[in-house]
Symmetry: C2
Subunit: 330 residues, 2 copies
């Protein structure tokens, strides 16, 4: 095995001092071009990689981001977290950062973990997902000036922190407009219980779109917790109405998959649109609203890096727009 290559090895090889090598890496512009190239050649020849631990000790920065990994609840939507995580790791890697995972039983446990991670690893920042009303985590982090970005809007206090989100109301509006365009007039909505910020937002897209064309949403919405069985039961309720809907927009793919099973017509005349464009939806031919998770993850990293690497211009939140993926069910 070749000996360990440090900055001193490179310096000796390129006939300069340690500090000059460091400068070539961190502020190349203050080094004379000639010298710079010589050092770069030495780095390449020796295969030098700066040791993060040493750098971190001096600078107090670790180039490490932490993300909480949550148990894939329903599984259908679980892959959303998976895809986001993948995008995040990719984008972070491109920006010279790495992603570290942690788990937590609940919000308070998570807060305890922050402290640990910050003290032991000098973490540069956190990426939080799924913020809700009155989130204790964001206020804890904000109070301590810990850099963080959320995937999900701060629903209560607009400018508490930076965020990236996908416009759920717009996604559901797109779905509703699609159904209107294909001739449907009685369009139902299956959502989550009121109070979930994300669910309420999505539902508003359905309501406002119907209102735009003068249709009355009254009596056509139902609420239930997430799940395929729940979706089926709730859809049946709606279909048993005197004047039942001919189409359903659902707040998630799980509910939509359930709704499909409630269709009494074996030919499948009931139109259904889900949300999240999960691979299962794709396989089952379910039309669904697709979130640009890769872009969202990249956005989180961009904001993070802008915060950390001294921004001349303060970064602004990012609201992305989803797109409708048309398949057999609508």
């Amino acid at each position: 095995m070749s000996q360990k290559v440090t900055i001193a090895t490179v310096a000796a090889y390129a006939q300069v001092s340690r500090q000059t090598v460091s400068n070539v890496i961190n502020s190349p512009d203050i080094v004379r071009p000639e010298t710079r190239e010589r050092v770069r050649a030495a780095i390449a020849a020796l295969g030098y990689r700066a040791n993060q631990a040493a750098r971190q000790m001096r600078t107090g920065r670790s180039r490490l981001l932490a993300v909480r990994i949550e148990p894939a609840g329903d599984g259908v939507n679980g892959s959303v977290a998976d895809r986001f995580l993948h995008g995040l790791t990719d984008a972070a890697g491109a920006a010279g950062y790495r992603v570290m995972l942690y788990t937590a039983r609940d919000d308070n446990d998570e807060i305890a973990t922050y402290d640990d991670l910050l003290r032991a690893y000098d973490l540069d920042g956190f990426v939080l997902t799924g913020t809700g009303h009155g989130d204790p985590r964001t206020s804890w982090l904000a109070r301590r000036d810990v850099p963080f970005v959320t995937f999900g809007r701060p629903w209560d206090t607009p400018d508490l922190h930076l965020w990236v989100d996908v416009d759920g109301a717009d996604g559901v509006a797109q779905a509703t407009r699609r159904l209107l365009a294909t001739g449907h007039r009685r369009i139902g909505f299956i959502g989550w219980p009121a109070g979930s910020a994300v669910g309420d937002d999505r539902r508003s897209g359905w309501e406002s779109t119907l209102a735009e064309v003068g249709l009355d949403p009254h009596g056509l919405a139902r609420e239930t917790v997430d799940g395929i069985a729940e979706g089926e039961a709730t859809a049946r309720e709606l279909l048993d109405l005197d004047d039942p809907p001919t189409a359903l927009v659902c707040v998630s793919d799980s509910l939509a998959l359930g709704a499909l099973r409630a269709d009494p017509d074996p030919a499948g005349s009931l139109a259904v649109i889900g949300f999240d464009d999960t691979p299962v939806a794709a396989a089952m031919g379910l039309t669904s609203v697709s979130q640009p998770l890769r872009q969202a993850a990249a956005g989180c990293v961009d904001l993070m890096v802008a915060m950390l690497d001294g921004p001349p211009v303060p970064p602004t939140p990012l609201l992305l727009h989803p797109s409708l993926v048309l398949r057999q069910t609508a």
Copy 2:
């Protein structure tokens, strides 16, 4: 904000030297109990946490494990990776390690990443998932004496490295025995194309179980790539036989979900069993073979820690047994 608390702060507070504090943390037994308690009290009082970067620089160990996160291919099975990752993060945390993520386009790209991670972060080890025949990654790591564990057996060279795996043949055998017990005699199998180590292993469980009771598997197996649509088409092929199977064992939940849709009987008389017990399977009422992913992840961490923290006894591979989760479809 309170000042940074280092080992020196604790030492001063407890009226001992830095080294004694270090000893209390790393080898408590060589410190006099009285002193030990005094130092522990100081640590608690000041809320001291050892700085990993400084520790790492001195010891060359980072207490960091790396895992590759793969894009959730099919989504149905994607949640498997998710659950494994969660278990891994939990178990690692309990053992004092943290999990770092990386992505890679292919095996060669992954190998390039190893080098980077090892040099820059002094990673303690890698956890690989999904090993196949002639895996270039394992040989690269083994040649360099980098500690690593795989979730998945080394299919070619038995003792090249440590591993944890779930006995797929046993899982499929359990499924097949269940179908035999409920009276089925013509039991088909839908698998992946021959050559995939995992798929071949699972298939062998079906074959051997039929052989045990004197049934001939001939003509009752089909191969296809993974996916719901593929499962449906392949199941139809089998059901169109002159003497069609009355039950199907499938190598994955995706294929099994497809097979369910091929059942001509709307009452669902075709028995189907899938593999992986994904949440979608649970929601759809699909009987499936469940892998103990949490245990598998914990096993990986155990082996890793045993390797890293100087094992008096060399650790041995771990083969776990799956269990059958009975639901409506079988």
